[in-house]
Amino acid sequence: MKHDRKCQYKLYNFLAPKLLATCLRYTPSRAEAEDVLQESFIKIFAHLDTFRLDSKIDTWSIRIMLNILNNKFKWTYKYANRHDEIETAENITEVSIKNEGLEYDDLLKILHTLPELHRNVFNLFEIEGYTHKEIGEMFEISESTSRVYLYRAKILLQQTHKKLNY
């Protein structure tokens, strides 16, 4: 497998659409997401022999990708203070959604209105299924801080939804 290009291509076809969708939730642009995806696959192929059978290969690959994202964007919020004043939807980036119903791209736009730490905590906890402990270790913050940021993210999302009349 490690030396078999055809197998590698099959694995790439299987994983790439999901990894790219995940990556887009964390990166500000598609170009950056594709860069991260490329880097992730190099690492996945190089370390495939270390993959253990106790998890799914897509979960394992997403973890590799999140580590790359973490290194690339320096997700260290050591100095983030959970007592900081909460942002309001008025302050966050404008988002325009033309569709009547919310599609994947629209939800992605809404997610990207959140400040980075809020968005990352929300993504990791709610969508990827990480625990607050794992998030805390990743971002060098305490578990309780992670909880606070998750709550704030939800409030901001709710405000954005109201603003958009959803």
Partner: protein
């Protein structure tokens, strides 16, 4: 699937998860090329022969695929997974294969199987045409990869068999394997033994009875066999019902002759093996 955004803040997480967790985005075609270029030499195929061995894969692909589909039904019917299992496969075309160091990546229903190119025969010589990925179209949920070495043994064996040795599934898979083997044997028997009525016979038989009583030759689906039937149930169905004719049919085929006195006596004087003996006086 579109869903209204929940007003309750507690439900927001579940909403986003349902809409985004399993989402997929189309990947640009050029990306694989870029990845391929930037892969280090240690990750890429080192010998040129590795990719050139995939020259005549059509037979191998078909045969391995059919073996693997037997495995997938075994997995799904028992409900347990085969993670970490050693997988032995006997390929239907007559080449028996054993995946000795097969690595089973992911669990659940088998969808794609990758067989690596390190296949060797008993003497250790590399066997060509085994390096191929085999899509199994049963379900498209997970991927299973068998990597590293695939050793072929007992080449040119002509059995329809598939073994999956697993700590959890050994018994279930053996039963299923036996069922599918028997089903295929029965299928072959039926094809060869079913009488083909001649024009004269057709003329002799009344039309109503012939259509009602003669069932069509059964097409036994091996998948159905795996899921439903046990080997014991299959035996009487196929051989007895299909090949022998019913009493009504035999009545219609020819008028019953009355046995003469001498014929009756001769029948009585035959033992169970049909050998004539003299009655004791």
């Amino acid at each position: 699937m579109k869903r209204a955004i929940p007003e309750n803040i507690e439900e927001l997480g579940a909403f986003y998860r349902s809409q985004m967790a399993d989402s997929k985005v189309s990947v640009p075609d050029t990306l694989w090329g870029a990845i391929e270029k930037s892969l280090p030499a240690s990750v890429l195929s080192t010998d040129a022969g590795a990719s050139s061995t995939v020259t005549n894969t059509s037979t191998q692909t078909a045969t391995v695929q059919s073996s693997i589909s037997a495995s997938s039904s075994a997995v799904s019917s028992t409900g347990s997974t085969l993670v970490g299992a050693t997988v032995k496969a006997k390929i239907l075309t007559g080449v028996a294969a054993k995946i000795t160091a097969g690595v089973l990546i992911s669990s659940g229903v088998v969808t794609t199987v990758y067989v690596a190119n390190n296949a060797t025969d008993k003497e250790g010589a590399v066997i060509e045409n085994v390096n191929e990925s085999i899509p199994n179209n049963a379900n498209n949920q997970n991927t299973i990869l068998y990597s590293d070495s695939l050793q072929l043994e007992n080449a040119q064996e002509s059995e329809n068999q598939f073994d999956v040795d697993s700590k959890t599934d050994a018994a279930a898979t053996k039963a299923e394997e036996a069922a599918s083997k028997e089903a295929s044997n029965i299928n072959q028997k039926n094809k060869s033994e079913l009488p083909v009525p001649s024009l004269d016979e057709k003329a002799n038989t009344p039309p109503v009875n012939s259509t009602e009583k003669e069932p069509a030759a059964p097409v036994i689906d091996s998948k159905q066999e795996d899921a439903q039937a046990t080997p014991k149930q299959q035996e009487p169905q196929s051989t007895n019902e299909e090949v022998t004719t019913s009493p009504q049919e035999s009545k219609n085929d020819a008028p019953i002759k009355k046995k003469t006195f001498f014929e009756k006596k001769a029948a009585e004087n035959k033992d169970s093996a049909g050998v004539l003996f003299k009655p004791k006086k």
